[in-house]
Symmetry: C2
């Protein structure tokens, strides 16, 4: 993978021209993407501006995010050739920081479950995950140092785990979702993919102008609560192993690590994530469902068919449960700095007919907490498996610092 | 004005063809809009579907709301000729209920402060208010029975007060803002304009499928707290008089009415509304401000120039104050059912160089409470003045019922 932090240091020292860094990504795309299929389109004439802390950083943008200079097709024939007038704010934030938008990355149709044709860069017979398939694969394959995706269920953390990339789903609304095709406005969250945790911190800090997101020079050993999410069903041995490896490495590096039971309301909140998501999806996709039903992808369409009878009262009750669960986070983050849990139910599944299951990610999307995926180990078949570090809402800097601590502990393993 | 409830009753009884109701609006537009200028465009071939509770109801849509069949120009040359692919969800909700989208109504550029050329239907020398100028004027002039607008500061309730129309700014997020040009995602709220409170209840209930929003057959006398919002500055005699008239009428009709002091945190919350709005506006308009600066309207542009240095920490502090103020609503709505306050600082100002001041509306937009404007009396010069009824977040049905109580009390005056 391409380290954003390393590129930035070399560019700032004058050891690397910003345009040469962009050219490196263009070459990697030319060499690999015919096989991987991570990009919908990209600019072969991309170059770097002369200023900005992210100059020389080539960024891929998930194709449900509006771009003024590339079409935005939402992974769906319904939006073929669609040209938004404006860049989404997250795209403008990257450009203002000097980054170069190199192209649009594949997305499952409307960021739902119908797979893309993108391959997992580590084992082409396996899924890269979804819905942010192209962003995860492009970073995991070492084509680009930074990419944007979105998560409504598990669409950032899961593909990052599958593709061996670091990723952050920031606190809900830290990044605006304006100009991003909506699935569920209470859940949709823009996230970043990069080679490592430091890269994520640099990217997110540059986008938001929040210097507090940069990693501190020295990271104190965090208090870590290990969470198994039993309410979300059993996970495979590969994920159990990844969590053990990460927890032990962190403990050996000096972290306080202990199993932490979750309050009962979390099981309810996990359950009603679907109610919130699908009730809002019926409104968000009202035009497509009503006017372009036959062109909708089959999994999304049948999911909408199955959930068309959710009543407003059920939605209101689900939102009330979500609010209770968010309130229950307070005492947890008095006891520990961060939580550590699985990023996915296992290694990337074989085949391209499923993007995997978001059941491990749903709760945290609903709660709006920052989540950071850390690539943890390679399971048999060269299949990446990650773990995620979770902090309190608004504590994205703490999530990144603790994730960096775990990442470094894993390197010393 | 055209009563939606009356049209609906006549159509359901078979006394009026749905298409005849649409034709009535087309005739009114043809007769009046050359002078008033409430529409950006409209369909002279509009007709009604054969089903749906809102069949025969012609609706005007503020031109920052996406429509697949009309261009959506945001009141700005930057979006001239822009055709969204999809209808915004609020537009789909109306169509699903059988309503006919008859055209797009004028908006100040990007729903900010630069005035439109629209005239106040009651006195052409005065402003109709803004930013939802066309929707308020079209309903107030009796051209259409229903229109959608949006409020970020005071852009629904203020123009409704100025144009003598009823209006509701529902609870934050009762209606989705997907496909609505964003100004500030924490504040933007889609609202409805109609001739009276019953019309609003029918329209909002049909859009959302929430039968609890319909008015009860008999409305109990509400407990009303009268609020003067001293933190928002002095208001003109016309608004003082409107509030007295409404409070006295409600009391005579059996309501318990008393002055209610507001907690100190409300003054802080009122103050920081601008911080939240402008910090988010800089992100929402990042592309326009960066790429199309010279084409931006002058008042919006200079407002953005003035507020470009708001720091993330100031924004975070403002959001924390907003959260405290929302929490402070709880005890208030244990003491009273609704609040009653001014809808605007006075009658519609003379001239078309200002849309008036949102300072009376800001706090309630920030708090996310449902607000209903009730036309109250005509000040000298045939200038409408309203008052607003405010309920707890999520109690839109209660806000509408109490507003209907006040509206009927005023009729008995």
């Amino acid at each position: 993978m391409i380290s954003l932090a390393d590129l930035q240091r070399r560019i700032e020292k004058g050891d690397l021209a910003a345009d040469a860094a962009i050219a490196q990504s263009l070459e990697a795309i030319a060499a690999q993407d015919k096989k991987i299929g991570a990009f919908v389109c990209h600019s072969i004439a991309a170059h770097a501006p002369s200023t900005g802390s992210l100059r020389g950083i080539a960024v891929g943008i998930k194709d449900i995010i509006d771009t003024a200079n590339f079409s935005t097709e939402m992974g769906s024939p319904i939006y073929r050739g669609f040209h938004p007038r404006a860049d989404a704010p997250v795209v403008s934030m990257l450009k203002r920081a000097g980054a170069t938008i190199i192209g649009k990355t594949t997305t499952t149709p409307f960021a739902a479950n119908d797979p893309t044709a993108t391959l997992n860069p580590h084992n082409h017979a396996h899924t890269p995950g979804g819905s942010s398939a192209g962003s995860a694969a492009a970073v995991g394959a070492g084509m680009i140092p930074l990419a944007l995706g979105t998560q409504t269920g598990g669409s950032v953390i899961r593909p990052a785990s599958f593709c061996g990339a670091a990723a952050i789903k920031p606190s809900y609304r830290l990044l605006p979702t304006v100009g991003v095709k909506c699935f569920s406005w209470s859940l949709d969250t823009v996230g970043l993919f990069a080679a490592g945790v430091e890269d994520l911190a640099i990217g997110l800090s540059a986008m938001t102008g929040r210097s507090e997101l940069l990693l501190p020079a020295s990271i104190a050993a965090p208090r870590i609560g290990v969470v198994t999410q039993d309410f979300a069903g059993e996970v495979e041995a590969a994920s159990v192993e990844a969590l053990q490896i990460a927890a032990r490495a962190a403990e050996r590096a000096g972290a306080s690590v202990r199993a932490l039971p979750m309050p009962a309301i979390f099981a309810d909140a996990w359950r009603i994530h679907t109610t919130v998501q699908q009730f809002e999806a019926h409104q968000a996709f009202a035009w497509e469902y009503r006017e372009r039903y036959n062109e909708m992808a089959p999994l999304l369409r049948s999911r909408l068919d199955e959930t068309r009878d959710i009543k407003p009262a059920e939605y209101d009750e689900a939102q009330a449960i979500a609010a209770q669960a968010r309130a229950a986070l307070g005492p947890i983050f008095e006891e520990v700095d961060v939580l550590l849990t699985y990023s996915a139910p296992g290694a990337p599944p074989k085949g391209l007919d499923s993007t995997g299951d978001p059941r491990i990610n749903r709760l945290w999307t609903l709660l709006g907490t920052p989540c950071v995926n850390i690539p943890t180990y390679m399971a048999e078949g060269n299949l990446p498996v990650g773990v995620q570090v979770i902090a309190a809402c608004g504590s994205d800097g703490k999530a990144l610092a603790a994730a960096r601590f775990v990442e470094q502990a894993l390197k010393r393993n």
